[in-house]
């Protein structure tokens, strides 16, 4: 599953730690989601989309292999 978290973070100019604090998860969790090592739950995906003020589909995209 692809994601645009890094781009959205850059737009908002926030670090992984700041995003982690908002989502109430660890920085490493944000990092592993960002580098696509870990697929988050719907709750975290929705929280992220709400924080960036975009739709979940814009933040997370399915790949051919998914």
């Amino acid at each position: 599953m692809q994601n645009t978290i890094k781009i959205e973070r850059a737009k908002k100019n926030i670090t992984q730690s700041e995003l982690a604090k908002v989502l109430n998860v660890s920085r490493l969790t944000v990092h592993s989601i960002e580098v696509r090592k870990f697929n988050p739950s719907v709750i975290i995906a929705l929280k992220m989309a709400r924080y960036f003020n975009i739709a979940v589909e814009e933040l997370f995209m399915l790949e051919e292999t998914d």
Binding site: V25, L28, T29, F38, N39, I44
Partner: protein, 170 residues
């Protein structure tokens, strides 16, 4: 998503670590001293010490992380499955060896196995939190491997008990 819900708060982490380290140091000292206070004293004190060490390690294992999010829970769940299976397999193997090859059964070996797996869990858990191994996050296709493993261990244990009863006419 499968999770392992813990019942101990994060604050149990440090006392567990302190208890484990102290118990471990005392264990080494007891092995070095090698003296007898009264008959059976050594076994009593050693087993008590082992139990305290195991309790300390369990306290660390069953307490939450500062950020106990879904990634941490997933890693913990995956690793606990592996460690529980390892413990059962090691104990079964030792019981098998001690019965079939007539190796003298020792409770210390069982305690060492439990301690080894608990320490292995701690080391692997800390490493996995940093490296995020991909296999642990993969959604398994309802494979019943853990069920088969536990079932075979249970079968082995029943077989072992039958063998012991027949062999030694308990």
């Amino acid at each position: 998503m499968k999770r392992f819900v813990l019942f101990m708060d994060n604050k149990f982490n440090i006392p567990g670590l302190i208890v484990s380290v102290i118990a471990f140091v005392i264990l080494i000292i007891l092995h070095r001293l090698n003296y007898e206070y009264e008959a059976g004293w050594r076994d009593r004190i050693l087993i008590t010490n082992h139990v305290i060490l195991i309790l300390g390690l369990l306290s660390i294992m069953l307490s939450k992380e500062i950020y106990d999010d879904e990634r941490v829970q997933r890693i913990r769940y995956g690793l606990l499955k592996v460690c529980y299976s390892l413990t059962i397999c090691f104990i079964m193997a030792y019981l098998g060896i001690s019965t079939l090859d007539r190796v003298e059964f020792s409770i210390y070996i069982i305690l060492y196995i439990i301690e080894f797996v608990l320490i292995l869990y701690q080391v692997l858990f800390r490493i996995f939190l940093l490296v995020n191994p991909s296999w642990i996050f993969k959604e398994s296709k309802r494979s019943n491997s853990s069920f088969y493993l536990l079932f075979s261990c249970l079968l082995f244990m029943i077989g072992w008990l039958i063998y012991v009863v027949i062999q030694y006419k308990i």
